[in-house]
């Protein structure tokens, strides 16, 4: 397959256009706790109400 792939220069150009990374700014590291803490209330609001019962009731059949 290696040969086939080397013969596809056009493809990598097309892919250059595809990567649209919204890079994470690691210099804001010291603010990470603040950013996450700021959303805890939002998460509280959507968490299933009776966590204990919900977690106990989450029973799945095995798969592959």
């Amino acid at each position: 397959m290696s040969e086939q792939q080397r013969k596809q220069p056009r493809k990598s150009e097309a892919i250059d256009e595809e990567i649209e990374t919204e890079t994470v700014d690691t210099s804001r590291k010291d603010q990470l706790d603040d950013d996450v803490d700021a959303i805890l209330d939002d998460i509280d609001a959507v968490l299933e109400e009776n966590a204990e019962e919900f977690v106990r009731g989450f029973v799945q059949k095995g798969g592959q």
């Binding site: 397959m1 990567i19 890079t23 690691t26 959507v46 977690v55 009731g57 095995g62 592959q64």
Partner: protein
């Protein structure tokens, strides 16, 4: 040396019917699949064509009899279970007791991210349709889907990767090279789990969802005695040229960067193995125990023993593999393509951060993201690891609903890395990739779905008005059937009769 190759992913989703703990999961999964089909107004439901399926064929060169197979291995039995072939080339169906989305074949890790994320969108919509359709009936109850791998009661379900690999590589070489890689890569692409042991009875956080369900080094089974390396040899391509590596050790990821890295690093390893340029592999003394031990230590200090008596951490192993791959890419005659370069940059960045300050991988690596969130909760509310709230957050991290899913909520922090635009993902819900045979399959469903009697990875079977017999078009080469190859046939023909005539005389 490249991350490009034919690949794809298969995700079995956890399923809950709200307020009905005793709901039949097979029935609920069928509701999801059928609701999606009816929402698409499919005039006709193409069957799955099982002719090329050989799940009992072992890559080590033998087949097992159907009588000796575990019932869970008979994945080629025609059943009445719901199945839909989608216009994006994917398959949506009921596997065991879970709805499953098998992505179309794509050629790069970035496209895996795109069509796997499209799968999350359409699965969430399917569950929503099913919940509305059946409102007021005896089976009513909102259906919620979880893109995870464990129920913390003993059951696990899979998130598998598939890679097309050259047949002429001895399988033992794949096993030797991939074992230390698969054992250690969880630090980059583990999804994180609250609970240890298969039944979750030990309260603690671990790196991988899947680790505690891995019981053996190499095996054909996927539902019991799960192996590090699965030997299912069902290439869905010319079996004299290719095998399909079916990887079952991976976790279901939410972070796009984790999905990308999982596929990109595995593709690089496979390329090195195929070109015989991989250095002699590290040999672990007990790979299965190493999978568990590494997963159980989020501080990443756990040492695992090598056959030569040395001890290494998972980070040491990953660094060594990274350095080999980087050297091989640098030594190649051709310049690396952009995804390969991106993969190497990210790999180095993530390993560096994991070694110095793991929290800086928030939004890129799932287990780090989940653990950080859990730790903020633990700090705020003084929670111990056995607190059900923490298990609830773990579970709901994988809830795929945009308004309730915790991972989806976290994207609002601006801290979660995205690699593909929302528009590209939305487009992939209904459109196939253009550079594999999935294009042909998806376009056939899109344009001539009413005339497709059955389909599979390897074939499309047409039922053409006026023809006495069904017409089976094999699609045995994943590289053919691309837009470049057959796009004009779809542009030029608006009826199935003329399309099939053009196809068979082309």
């Amino acid at each position: 040396m490249t991350v490009h190759r034919i690949q794809g992913s298969e995700i079995e989703y956890g399923i809950v019917v709200t307020g009905q703990p005793d709901a039949n999961p097979v029935l609920a999964s069928s509701r999801v699949v059928n609701a999606y089909a009816s929402a698409q107004h499919l005039a006709r439901r193409a069957r799955w064509d099982f002719e090329e399926e050989t799940p009992l064929c072992d890559a080590r060169g033998f087949s097992i009899g159907r009588q000796t197979a575990e019932p869970g291995m008979l994945t080629n039995e025609e059943t009445s279970m719901a199945n839909v072939i989608l216009t994006n080339g994917a398959r949506l169906y009921v596997d065991h007791a879970h709805p499953e989305y098998s992505s179309p074949e794509v050629t790069s890790p970035l496209d895996v991210v795109r069509w796997e994320k499209a799968g999350e969108l359409l699965m969430a919509r399917a569950a929503n349709h099913a919940s509305h359709l059946d409102a007021g009936t005896p089976t009513a109850g909102d259906i919620v889907l979880y893109k995870n791998n464990v129920d913390n009661k003993g059951a696990s379900y899979g998130a598998h990767e598939n890679y097309l690999v050259q047949r002429d590589i001895p399988f033992r070489d794949l096993v030797a090279q991939l074992t230390p890689f698969f054992v250690s890569r969880q630090i980059v692409c583990g999804a994180g789990r609250v609970g240890r042991l298969a039944d979750g009875s030990e309260a603690a956080f671990q790196i991988s969802q899947r680790a505690d369900y891995i019981e053996t080094e190499v095996a054909l089974e996927t539902t019991v005695r799960r192996p590090i390396i699965n030997t299912r040899d069902e290439p869905h391509a010319d079996a004299t040229l290719f095998r399909r590596l079916h990887v079952i050790i991976g976790d279901a990821n939410m972070c796009e960067t984790s999905i990308f890295m999982k596929h990109a690093t595995t593709s690089l390893m496979l390329h090195a193995i195929e070109t015989l340029s991989a250095p002699a592999p590290l040999v672990l003394r007990d790979p299965v125990r190493a999978v568990h031990a590494i997963s159980h230590d989020p501080t990443l200090r756990q040492l695992v023993e090598l056959d030569d008596g040395r001890h290494m951490t998972a980070l040491d192993i990953q660094w060594q593999l990274f350095e080999s791959m980087k050297a091989m890419v640098a030594a190649a005659d051709t310049e690396a393509d952009s995804q390969t370069e991106f993969a190497l940059d990210r790999w180095e960045h993530l390993l560096t951060c994991l070694g110095s300050d793991p929290e800086s991988c928030f939004g890129q690596i799932d287990w780090v993201t989940k653990l950080h969130l859990l730790n903020r909760y633990r700090d705020r509310d003084s929670l111990a690891w056995h607190d059900p709230t923490l298990q609830m957050i773990d579970l709901q991290y994988h809830d795929i609903r945009s308004e309730r899913g915790v991972f989806n909520k976290l994207t609002q922090t601006g801290r979660v890395e995205s690699l593909v635009t929302r528009e590209a993902i939305e487009d992939a819900v209904t459109h196939p990739p253009t550079d594999t045979r999935a294009y042909f399959r998806g376009m056939c469903m899109n344009k001539f779905g009413h005339g497709v009697a059955a389909a599979s990875w390897d074939s499309i079977i047409f039922d053409v008005p006026g023809r006495d017999s069904l017409l089976r078009i094999p699609t045995s080469d994943p590289h053919r059937g691309t837009r470049e190859h057959v796009g004009r046939l779809f542009d030029d023909n608006d009826t199935i009769e003329s399309f099939v005539a053009a196809l068979t005389t082309a």
